[in-house]
Amino acid sequence: MFKAIVSASTLRDALDSVSVLVDECKIRLNEDELAIRAVDPANVGMVDLALDAAAFESYEADGGVIGVNLSRLEDIAGMANAGDLVHLELDEETRKLHIRIDGLSYTLALIDPDSIRQEPDIPDLDLPATIVLEGNQLDRGIKAADMVSDHIALRVDEDEEAFFIEAEGDTDDVDLELGRDDLIDLAAGPANSLFSLDYLKDMNKAIPGDAEVTVELGEEFPVKLHYEIAEGMGQVTYMLAPRIQSD
C-alpha cells in the first residue's frame, strides 16, 4: 500500500538527485520514509536518498518496493508547476503508479524491482577530513576545473587549514583555495584524492546552489557529499570512487 501527496518541487529535487546517476531505480516505500539507493553501472558513483514522511503533505506506506523508470517519472513531475501538489497512489493489482497533478492523471507502468541492478553495499569509511561549504562554492570550483581537465583533485591542507579544488589540464591549471573563513566549517585532516569530472559534474548538477554541502574526504579514498532537500526533511548522500594516481 502506498498513497502520498507531495509538492512538485520536493519530488523533483528528490528525483533529480538520483537521475543524474541512473536511468531506473528501486524506491523503498518504508513506513516512515521514502528511500532510494542506487549505483551507476560502473559502480563508481552512488546515491543514497531518504525523504522523511514529514516532507510529504500526506504519506501512507507499508514497506513495499517498486521499480521505476526515472526519466519518465521526471517528465511527469515536470508537468507540474512548482507549487502544485502531486498525488501518488500505487495500484497493487496492476503494479502501476497512478499520478495526479491538478486534473491531469497519468498511469505509470512499473519495472520489476528484481530486474534493476542490485543496491550497492556502502563502503564503511572513516574519512579524516570534513569540509562544509555552500553548493555555489563547489559549483564554482567544478566549473573552472572543467575548463581545463577531465579530472579534479580535492585536497585539504592541514597547516594552512584550507580546502583546495585543483585541476591540471594539457597546458592550463585551475586552483580554487577556500580558507577556514570562506568555509562554513572545516575539520582538517590528511586528505587528497583525484576524481573524474564526468561524475562530479553530474552530482553537482543536482546540488542546489544554496544548499549546505558536507564533504568527507581522505587520501585516495571515495568522497562523500551530503546535503539536505525539502527543508531538511530529505537527505542526499553521494559517494564517488577516486581515480588512483599511478605513483
Binding site: 560502473a42 558513483g45 550497492p120 563502503p123 577531465d150 591540471e168 585516495e220 570512487a241 594516481q245 599511478s246
Partner: protein, 437 residues
Amino acid sequence: MRLDDYIEMEVNERAERRRLAMEKSYAIVDHLEDFRHRFDDAVQGDSLFGSVSPSIFVGRSNYPNVSTGILSPVGHEGDADKFETSASWYDEGVSIGDVFERRTSLLNSNRPVDVRVGARRGDGLNVHDAWDGFLGAQREVAIADRPVSVEIGLDGRPKLDFDVTRDDIATPTGPRARARSADLAENPHVPRPVKKTLEDDDWQAQGAMNYLYRRGFDVYDITRILSAGALGQGRNRRLVPTRWSITAVDDTVGQFLRGTLRDAPSVDAVQVWRNEYLGNAFWVILAPGRWEFELVEMKAPGSIWNPDPAAGMWIASDREGYEGRTGYVEETAGAYYASRLAVLEHLSEVGRQAKCLVLRHVSDDYWGPVGVWQVREAVRHAFEGAHGEAETFGTAVREVADRLPVSTSDLRRKSEMVAGLQTSLADFTNAGGTVNR
C-alpha cells in the same frame, strides 16, 4: 620489471630506413607513369576496358552527393586481390612505398551519385533496390569474396593525380576516371552469410555487421559491404563513404566485443606489449580492473601530421570509461577505434577485461599516411610473442615513458589514465576486491 628483456631499439636500422623512405616519396611519380603505360595497353578503342576489381571506393566530399567508384588494378589483373587493403598487408610486410605503389596502380572508375537513391533521384528508388547498371555492378564487387571481372566504359582519360591527404583513416587513393558504364563479366561468388544480411532488409546495420564479424569476416570485408549500401534496414540503406564506413565498423564491432566482456574477470597483472610498424611504435599497457581505454598519440616533428621539423612533439588523446563513450572522439579520429578494436579482440580471446592504455609514437619515418589499417594491424600483432610485466601501472608507465619522447609529467597532463586509474566503490568495501595501487 622484465621490460628490458624483449625491447631493443635498433638505432642504425632506423636511420637507414628513414633514408630509404625519403627516396621512396619521389618514386610515386614513377608509379603514376607506369600506370599510364599499363592503362594505354589495356584500353580498347572506345575507352572500354576489362579488368578484375577487388574493391570499391565511396568518396565523402560533397556528401550526400558523393563520387562512388569501382577500383581496378589495370594491367595487374593476375594478382588483383593484393591491391585490396586487408590484414594480409601486415603479414606481407608492405612498406609505405608499397602502399602508395599499390594505390597508384588502382584506377577508380567513378560516377557522381546521391547516397540515398543511387543514380536516379526523386523516383523513390532506394539504393537498396538499385541492382542494375553501375551501382549494381559496384554492389556485386563489394559483396563478392574475391575479385570480380568487370567491363568498364570510361568517359575520357583517367586523371593521373595522386591524392595524398593527411587523412589517417582511408587508404590513399590513386588515378580517377569518370565511368560511363560498368558491367559484370562473371557471376560473382557471394558468401552465404553476406547473402543473408543482404536479403534481410529488416535487420539493423549494427546487428548485421556484428553477425558478419562473428561469422569470421574481418572488418575489411564488412567495411566494403557496408560502404556499398548492402547492410541495414531497407529504407535506411545508402552508400557510406569509405572513410566513415571503416570507423563505423571498428566502432560497432568494438562495442559488441566490449559488451561481451562486461562481467568478465580482470587480467591479473600489469602487462606491457609492444609492436612497431611503418614508423609507428605502439605500447599497450593492460592493468587489472574494469574496462577503461585511452589512446595517446605522440607525433614527432617531421612526421606527416606535424611536418615542421622545429615544432615540438604533438600529443593527442581520447578515452572512454567502463560504459564507453557517446560522442565521436575529438583528437585521435579513426586510430582510436582501430586500436580499441585490436585490444578488445585480444581481451576477448583471453576472456578478460582490463584497463588499457595505448601509446602511439609516430616517428618521422612515417612520411605518408597509409590508412588506419596500419594502426589496427600493428596493435593486433602487438599481442604476439613476449610481453613485459610490471608491479604497478605506475611503474609500467614510467618504464615506457623512458622510451618515449615525452616526460612522464607531460604524459600525466595529457592522459587521464596516467593521471589516475578509476577505482570502483567495490574496491573499498570489505567484501570487494583489493585496491590496485
